[in-house]
C-alpha cells in the first residue's frame, strides 16, 4: 500500500473517526518496499494541495524516512525553468507513489486497534464486538 494512501485512511470505528487522534494511522513493524511506477508530473502537482501535509510529515518521521519540507511545496518548486519535473517533484513521486508498506500494522491513535497489512493490503474489517 503506497504511502499516499495513508493520507486518506483513518480508523474504521465510527466512534474514532471524528477524533483528531484517529488520523493519521501509525505504522508499526512496517516493512517498506519500492514499487516502481511511471511518473505523472501533472497529477502529482494537482494532487499535492489535496494532501494533509502535517499527516504526511508525521508518517515519514514515524517510518524513519528523510524529513519533508515544512510546508506543501508550491507549484513553482515542482518544475524547473525549462518546464521539466524538478527534483522536489521526483522525490515526492518516489515517496508518495512508489514507497509502499508491504507488511506490518496500522494503529489507531485513539482506540489503539491494530489493522494488519499483508502483501501490501490493509484489512479494515472489524471484529463484531468492535462494530
Amino acid at each position: 500500500m503506497k504511502l499516499l494512501t495513508l493520507n486518506f485512511l483513518t480508523c474504521a470505528r465510527k466512534t474514532c473517526k471524528s477524533t483528531a487522534a484517529a488520523f493519521p494511522l501509525h505504522p508499526k513493524d512496517a516493512e517498506l518496499e519500492q514499487i516502481e511506477i511511471d511518473m505523472n508530473p501533472l497529477f502529482v502537482k494537482n494532487m499535492l494541495p489535496r494532501l494533509e501535509w502535517e499527516a504526511m510529515k508525521t508518517l515519514t518521521q514515524e517510518l524513519g524516512l528523510p524529513a519533508l519540507p515544512a510546508e506543501t511545496p508550491a507549484p513553482e518548486e515542482l518544475t524547473t525553468e525549462d518546464g521539466e519535473a524538478s527534483q522536489v517533484l521526483k522525490d515526492l513521486h518516489v515517496l508518495l507513489m512508489e514507497t509502499s508498506v508491504a507488511s506490518g500494522k496500522l494503529v489507531c491513535g485513539n482506540c489503539g486497534h491494530e489493522y494488519a497489512v499483508k502483501e501490501g493490503i490493509a484489512n479494515f474489517l472489524l471484529p463484531s464486538h468492535m462494530v
Partner: protein, 236 residues
C-alpha cells in the same frame, strides 16, 4: 423472504461475502469491460482528483483514468488481491458500513453493484449514507444497482415481482474450468452453483433511499438492467 434487520449482517456474511470469496477468480475473469456511463463519469473527473471505489471487486474501474487517484475497497480479500494489480491506485479490505475514511474529504465516489447486496432497506440507506459521508460538499457519488425491471433480460424479472432474490452463480466443471489458468476451482469436475442475495430495485427506489440517506440526486437513469444515480450530500 427479506430477513430481519438485526440478522442482516449475518445473512449477508453467508449469502454475499462468503460467496464472493469463493467465486472471486471466476467472477473476475468475467468482469473486464467498463460500462459506458461509469467510464465517462471517471474520465470527466479533473486531473489530480481523489476518490473512492467502494465495492471495487476486481478493480476494473481503477484503470479507466490514470490522472486521478482512487482508493478502492471491497469486503472480499480475494477480490482485493486481484484489484491490487491496478497501479497507481490502492485497494484495502473494508466494509461499506465501516469505511476507513475520514468524512468530507473526497472529490468523488463510485459504488457499482454493491448496495443491492445489503438485505434490509435500513442497511441499504445506511450504506448510501456512509458513501456520501466521505465526500466533500456537492461532490458526486455514482451508484449502480440491479433493477427489478429487466424485461429485456433472460433472468425473467419484471415489475411487480419479488424484489429479494437469490441469484445463482454457476462455475462450470470439467474442461472449461481446467482451462482457466487462475481459476480457484481448477480441480473440480462438476458444475458448482453458488447463490448470492440481491435486492432488485424498482423504479424510483434508489432515489428514495438517497433522500432518506440525507443526499440529493444530481442525475439518474436506467442502463442495461440497472438503475443508476449520481448523488451528493445535502449541506449540513
Amino acid at each position: 423472504m427479506s430477513p430481519l434487520a438485526k440478522e442482516g449482517e449475518a445473512y449477508e456474511q453467508e449469502h454475499v461475502h462468503a460467496v464472493y470469496e469463493q467465486i472471486a477468480s471466476h467472477f473476475s475473469s468475467t468482469r473486464y469491460k467498463p460500462w459506458p456511463i461509469i467510464e465517462r463519469f471517471l474520465r470527466d473527473r479533473p486531473n489530480g482528483a481523489i476518490g473512492l471505489d467502494i465495492g471495487c471487486g476486481n478493480g476494473k474501474y481503477l484503470s479507466v483514468n490514470p490522472n486521478i487517484y482512487i482508493v478502492g475497497s471491497d469486503r472480499s480479500t480475494n477480490l482485493v488481491g486481484i484489484a491490487s494489480k491496478h497501479q497507481p491506485h490502492s485497494v484495502v479490505v473494508s466494509d461499506i458500513l465501516e469505511l476507513p475514511h475520514a468524512d468530507g474529504i473526497f472529490d468523488f465516489a463510485i459504488t457499482i453493484a454493491v448496495v443491492h447486496h445489503l438485505s434490509t432497506t435500513e442497511r441499504r440507506v445506511e450504506a448510501i449514507r456512509s458513501v456520501l459521508a466521505t465526500l466533500k460538499a456537492n461532490a458526486p457519488a455514482l451508484i449502480y444497482v440491479w433493477a427489478l425491471e429487466q424485461d429485456g433480460s433472460r433472468r425473467g424479472w419484471s415489475e411487480g415481482g419479488d424484489q429479494d432474490v437469490m441469484v445463482p452463480w454457476v462455475m462450470r466443471g470439467s474442461k472449461k474450468a481446467a482451462r482457466q489458468q487462475d481459476c480457484v476451482a481448477t480441480t473440480q469436475t462438476e458444475d458448482k452453483v453458488f447463490h448470492r442475495y440481491y435486492h432488485l430495485y424498482r423504479r424510483g427506489e434508489l432515489e428514495e433511499e438517497i433522500l432518506a440517506a440525507g443526499g440529493y440526486v444530481l442525475d439518474a437513469g436506467y442502463e442495461k438492467d440497472n438503475w443508476w444515480a449520481i448523488a451528493a450530500k445535502q449541506p449540513d
